[in-house]
């Protein structure tokens, strides 16, 4: 609009009463009117218009994170219900509820209210069990989502920070789970809190002080339950919600990754729009997750606190385990030799510090750093929106399988007593085995996985060059047998070849001339790691190789058919079978 023109007044109201200057678009029905009313005040139209049509690619593995998200929603819903009845207090009361075998027993208000939720609140036990099962599923789903993201290379630029947020979510979810596990104040959770007290006290120098701050005096005191409660219902859920929001906003901002295929590039996303397809799929999945939690809560008992009774430091039970996600540090704690150092009248309990205070933070740090380490080794600073098959990154896949093996073995060690009685084994032998296995197992797993991946790559190359096995066996006139191969179709071939060739980083000695000794050492290390990552990989064939092999295959086929047609033995496959 230039200055000389008369301003267009047609869209300006003549008075502040009556109809708007711009009439509502024709055909605006009641729903449209409501939407318009909202849009005029909230201005969401533009944003929604864009985002409701946002496209997501379709693959089952992309829905694993959704399981975590929806089970978190189930946790919020059931958790709110539980807060209406739960009393986070360690005041001693005498139980007078419906469960006979505990009537008259002295216990904390927290435990009494947990019993009330279980026996005297309508639907209380169902919701308590749903809450607990949903917590198990929440963390399990986060872990398999993490594995999916890692194995497909979805953590690469630009998604490294979202990976770090995911690691934090896993850590916070685990802590959230532990605080919840402690709230009923039953024998099991009290034993867990007692163990936590021991862990804190094992911290050198400040351990005892920290423990006294935590418990407001010597364990158990009467402050720990209210403190854990506020962390469980306010602090940690708040942090979790904020991080989940950030996680999902980044997902929308980065756009979802997709599997390579015809028409799918680093610049586009091929899939279906949020509305109506993904709204229906994701919304429906929420109800499925809710239903699964409800079924578990209704059919399978979890944490029968009434059988455990109130916590009492003089009591303990066999089968005292943490919930599964704390199982692996507990396993390390169970198998570590009794290492202690006594120095200047102070005991350093390595047997507690290493498995509990060192290993979990170390593992989370390794996990969070994986994308950055890989990026440094490969020198790959490009953006990636197309996923990789696990076999096409053999070393990466092998690293995670090694970590999983370590995790799994430590985890199993956490259930050593149950393994011992159920499999008629000696708990000592399990301990000795695990002590070696947690070191040897990951190495073996690494080597097997890497070789396995490379073999699969080789098979892919074979498929590209020689086609797939038809299952048709052909006997030549000379009496030899051969299987007929046919070329795979173009789409499949495209998907198989939609990956980069790996390049091993080789520093040129000239380039290193001006570099400090430290820089030179780093470059050499990077070169070694790069060779470990890529040197053994099977690279995809070149276009020329594919062409040549196709021509060769066709020729072979003709020759074979010719032989069959003219040879003495006419029992081979013919055109009329």
């Amino acid at each position: 609009m230039s200055l000389g023109d008369r301003p267009d007044m047609s869209k300006v109201a003549k008075s502040n009463a009556g109809e708007p200057a711009v009439p509502p678009s024709r055909g605006s029905q009641r729903a449209g009117a409501v939407a318009n009313w909202a849009d005029e005040r909230l201005g969401l139209g533009t944003m929604l218009k864009k985002n409701l049509r946002k496209v997501f690619p379709d693959h089952w593995s992309f829905m694993l994170g959704e399981i975590a998200l929806w089970s978190f929603v189930v946790l919020l819903l059931t958790g709110v219900f539980l807060t209406l009845w739960y009393d986070p207090s360690m005041t001693e009361v005498q139980y007078a509820g419906s469960y006979d075998p505990l009537r008259g027993v002295h216990m904390s208000s927290a435990f009494a209210s947990t019993l009330d939720i279980s026996f005297d609140v309508r639907g209380g036990l169902l919701l308590r069990q749903m809450h607990h099962w949903a917590a198990h599923i929440f963390i399990a789903a986060m872990m398999i989502h993490l594995l999916r993201v890692y194995f497909t290379g979805a953590f690469r630029k630009p998604r490294e920070l979202n990976w770090v947020i995911g690691c934090l979510l896993l850590l916070l979810g685990t802590i959230e789970g532990f605080t919840g596990y402690s709230l009923p104040d039953d024998l099991l959770s009290g034993t867990g809190v007692r163990a936590a007290d021991g862990f804190v006290k094992a911290t050198p120098v400040v351990g005892t002080y920290m423990s006294f701050f935590m418990f407001g005096g010597e364990f158990p005191g009467d402050a720990i339950i209210p403190r854990l409660y506020i962390a469980h219902v306010l602090l940690l859920p708040g942090l979790l919600l904020a991080l989940i929001a950030a996680h999902m906003l980044l997902l929308v901002y980065h756009k979802h990754t997709q599997w390579p295929g015809p028409g799918r590039t680093e610049q586009n996303v091929v899939g279906y729009p949020l509305l109506p397809v993904y709204a229906a799929k994701a919304g429906g999945f929420f109800f499925i997750v809710f239903g699964a939690c409800a079924l578990l809560g209704g059919l399978f008992s979890i944490n029968n606190v009434w059988k455990l009774g109130p916590y009492d430091p003089s009591k303990v039970t066999a089968g005292s385990q943490p919930d599964w996600y704390m199982g692996w540090p507990d396993g390390l704690l169970r198998i570590i030799p009794p290492w202690e150092t006594h120095i200047w009248g102070v005991t350093l309990s390595w047997n507690i510090m290493l498995p509990i205070l060192v290993m979990p933070p170390l593992m989370i740090t390794i996990l969070a750093l994986l994308p950055f380490i890989e990026q440094w080794v490969t020198g790959d600073k490009r953006e990636h929106h197309l996923l990789q098959r696990p076999r096409n990154a053999p070393t990466r896949t092998a690293i995670m399988v090694a970590l999983m093996t370590f995790y799994g073995l430590s985890w199993a060690a956490g259930g050593n007593d149950i393994i011992a009685i159920k499999m008629d084994l000696s708990i000592n032998q399990i301990t000795y085995f695990m002590r070696a296995a947690i070191f040897v197992g990951p190495v073996i797993a690494f080597m097997i996985t890497k070789r396995w991946c490379i073999s699969l790559q080789r098979q892919d190359k074979e498929k590209l060059l020689h086609g797939y096995e038809t299952g048709v066996l052909v006997r030549s006139p000379a009496g030899g047998y051969a299987e007929k191969h046919l070329p795979i179709d173009e789409h499949q071939a495209y998907a198989l070849t939609a990956r980069d060739r790996d390049e091993v980083y080789v520093p040129e000695e000239d380039d290193l001339d001006g570099v400090s000794p430290r820089g030179r050492r780093l470059a050499r290390l990077r070169a070694k790691l790069s060779a470990m990552f890529f040197a053994d990989n099977v690279q995809k064939p070149t276009a020329a190789e594919v062409e040549e092999s196709r021509a060769h295959a066709e020729h072979e086929l003709h020759e074979l058919e010719h032989q069959i047609a003219t040879g003495p033995n006419k029992h081979g496959p013919s055109s009329d079978h």
Binding site: G104, C293, I302, A318, I418
Partner: protein, 299 residues
């Protein structure tokens, strides 16, 4: 009164009769003998029966037990000096009744802690073995029924079934159980692991008499809970609690053996997450109305 005086007077007339002395003597003897047989323990007879039982037990012992425990229950040492079969001189009848009654003894071969199995000896034979071993020395006797059977709690108080009384026993027994037993036997009595391949067996479904005897004798690595430790009344309370635990329905649903968080974790992963991942695959495989087009495009 007059009638009584008259009959007494009539009787009195015969008091100096020739047969009176004899009659009084006979009456006295009958009374003494009758009273004796009514009140005195049948010692002469039972001693004989007991001796027969011990003899029978000894014969069974020589055939089935002496190989490891010695011909007189003195125990057998291996060449290395370790126990082949421990001495049974002071274990008492309760230990035999527990070991043989639960099928743990005789063992198939000397070695690790024997498992519970179907008893080899009949009840009479077990009683004979118990009697023989009891005759070798001291040790606790087989408890009477009112010591171990929770059903006798109400009867003992004489006023029929008193639910409050029973409930009080159950609640007390639960606390004693959690303080003394669960560390090895698990909070649901599901059992637990002990060092070097040993184990605390599952106690759900065990005969109350055997539970009582186990507390009394402390088999294998189990502590002996003497009557000074846990008085008989408290032992009965523990058994009453265990019985209530068994009779109580599983309020929360299936329990997977009552083993605690390990089985719960397995269920969460296999059933919970397994089902949800299967649903994810199912949802991804079924795309609204566009599936045909997609298939066509790919084919």
């Amino acid at each position: 009164m007059r009638l009584l005086n008259r009959s007494a007077g009539r009787l009195s007339r015969h008091r100096r009769g020739p047969l009176a002395g004899l009659l009084v003597l006979v009456l006295g003897l009958l009374l003494t003998g009758g009273l004796y047989s009514a009140f005195a323990p049948a010692q002469a007879d039972s001693t004989q029966a007991q001796e027969e039982l011990v003899q029978e037990g000894r014969e069974l012992f020589l055939v089935g037990c002496a190989f490891c425990h010695g011909q007189n229950g003195e125990g057998v040492l291996t060449q290395g000096g370790t126990q082949y079969g421990p001495p049974l001189t002071d274990v008492g009848a309760a230990a035999v009744d527990f070991q043989v009654g639960t099928g743990r003894m005789p063992m198939a071969q000397p070695g690790q802690q024997p498992p519970k199995k179907d008893p080899v000896y009949s009840e009479e034979e077990t009683a004979a073995l118990a009697a023989y071993v009891a005759s070798l020395g001291t040790g606790p006797a087989i408890p009477d029924r009112e010591l171990y059977d929770p059903e006798t709690i109400a009867d003992a108080n004489g006023n029929g079934s008193n639910e409050d009384e029973v409930q009080e026993y159950v609640a007390r027994g639960g606390q004693i159980f959690l303080a003394n037993c669960t560390a090895c036997h698990n909070f649901e009595g599901s059992g637990g692991a002990m060092p070097r391949g040993g184990y605390a067996p599952k106690i759900r479904g065990t005969d109350p008499k055997h539970i009582y005897e186990a507390m009394l004798t402390g088999p294998y690595t189990m502590d002996t809970f003497s009557d000074g430790n846990i008085p008989p009344d408290d032992k009965l309370a523990v058994i009453a609690y265990l019985q209530t635990l068994e009779e109580t329905p599983s309020y929360g649903g299936f329990t997977f053996g009552g083993l605690g968080p390990v089985s719960e974790g397995i269920i969460a992963w296999v059933v919970g997450l397994g089902a949800l991942v299967a649903f994810a695959v199912w949802i991804a495989a079924h795309t609204t109305r566009t599936s045909r087009k997609k298939d066509g495009a790919e084919a």
